[in-house]
């Protein structure tokens, strides 16, 4: 049987673990408000960039347009036949202790790697968990094209711009026909959902067209505007994905820590009952010994 001291020690250690989990939960819930605000603040820019790109749709799709001669046109060309190189942007967290958050993203990444087994694969990974996972993965034709570690919970637009630059470079250097994306989407405080989709080439059906830019005058030229717009649109999109993942990570950690501290509470309750039983048993034992000792003397 465990001694009283052992049980007390165990209770004490579990209580302090619980305290830590509660603290982590509180940190996450404090940060999540900021993360949500950041998402909210970034929305007008991203939305407008998408609308403007959409407004140029006619010009982009017009086969005689100069845009077709640009290297950047590949981001809009769905008919590309060269499908030998693909890229993936994988967004995970830097830290664990957030439930299945990293596991689902990594599982999806593994699936992606298998699906593109025959192709040259270039992965840009955000988050330590994803990077460590990919480093251990020994698969042919898999290249770690870039990594960004330690940006959460302070992901900024500059980070997104860096990811965009790397993607641009990669796509030109290795003739990449498709860029996929895996990240956790922030649905609500209670739920995150994994998104695995094609980021590029550009899908016009994803954005609703509002106004029509055909009456506009462009300065210096439509082409220049397009070239200014495109990187900003891409950065704004990547920025949004980073923020979504950041908020989702915090929400996941909050939930995981809440569940864990609840479990810790249950264990403490159980151990307390056990402690009381053991203490009672010891006391009963001692009384029995004293009584029987006294009886022996009296007899």
């Amino acid at each position: 049987m465990e001694s009283l001291r052992d049980i007390r020690q165990e209770i004490k250690s579990i209580k302090s673990t619980k305290q830590m989990m509660l603290t982590m939960k509180m940190i996450s819930s404090a940060r999540i408000k900021k993360a949500q605000q950041q998402m909210e603040d970034g929305r007008p820019f991203a939305k407008k960039m998408a609308v403007m790109i959409d407004n140029l749709r006619k010009d982009i799709q017009n086969p005689s347009s100069e845009i077709h001669n640009l290297p950047a046109y590949r981001f809009f060309d769905n008919s590309s036949t060269d499908k030998n190189s693909v890229a993936l942007v994988l967004i995970t967290a830097d830290k664990g202790l957030c439930g299945a958050f990293n596991a689902v993203a990594l599982r999806a990444a593994l699936k992606w790697v298998r699906e593109n087994d025959e192709k040259e694969k270039y992965i840009f990974v955000i988050g330590k968990k994803g990077r460590d996972f990919l480093r251990r993965l020994k698969v042919p034709r898999l290249h770690l094209a870039g990594e960004l570690i330690g940006i959460f919970p302070r992901a900024s637009y500059a980070h997104a711009a860096m990811i965009k630059d790397t993607l641009f470079e990669l796509s030109q250097k290795y003739n990449i026909s498709r860029v996929d994306l895996i990240y956790n989407d922030f649905k609500s405080m209670a739920s995150q959902s994994l998104i695995s989709k094609t980021f590029l080439p550009f899908n016009f059906n994803e954005i609703p067209g509002e106004e029509d830019l055909s009456d506009f005058i462009f300065e210096p030229s439509m082409l220049d505007i397009f070239l200014t717009l495109l990187p900003r649109y891409l950065s704004a999109s990547v920025y949004r994905f980073l923020l979504e993942s950041q908020a989702a990570e915090l929400a996941a950690r909050m939930n995981a820590m809440e569940a864990a501290s609840k479990n810790a509470g249950d264990i403490v309750d159980k151990l307390s009952v056990k402690l009381n039983k053991v203490r009672q048993a010891t006391i009963t034992n001692e009384i029995t010994e004293i009584v029987s000792g006294a009886n022996a003397i009296n007899n």
Binding site: D41, M52, S156, Y157, F218, P220, T228, R232
Partner: protein, 139 residues
């Protein structure tokens, strides 16, 4: 001023909407030189340089440092999409100088932990901030 047409000026950066205001006149740092906008302007999309945006509302005039981007003019709404924007008066010269020094130091330190591209962007930003600030004081 009753019935006088006004322009709606919106300055939006990836981080947040910096400004949303009714004004009388706007001067944009367009790519081919400064461009003035009054109510009733033709529909226009312009590429912007790193530079100064000025606007006038009644008797007040203010300046913004704009880090490149685009401006869209449509139906008396001027939307400026900049990488970053700061009100000239709010720029803290000492802070900008400090940031400049910091960026320079991290660029020359060759430390593996330092993000070179980020430091370079900071450097560019700090330089413009100082430029706008100093220009303002010269008037």
């Amino acid at each position: 001023m009753a019935g006088k047409k006004k322009l709606k000026l919106q300055i939006i950066t990836p981080q947040k909407q910096v400004l949303d205001k009714e004004v009388d006149f706007i001067a944009l740092p367009a790519y081919n030189g400064e461009m003035g906008v009054l109510p009733g302007h033709v529909q226009y999309v312009a590429k912007l340089n790193y530079g100064v945006l000025r606007y006038k509302d009644g008797n007040t005039q203010e300046e913004f440092a704009i880090m490149g981007g685009l401006a869209e003019i449509a139906h008396d709404v001027v939307s400026v999409f900049a990488e970053d924007a700061a009100l000239a008066e709010e720029i803290d010269e000492a802070e900008a100088k400090q940031k400049l020094a910091q960026a320079k130091a991290s660029l020359s330190s060759h430390d593996a932990d330092i993000d070179m591209e980020l430091a370079e962007m900071e450097l560019k930003k700090a330089l413009l901030m100082l430029k706008v600030k100093n220009k303002k004081t010269k008037f």
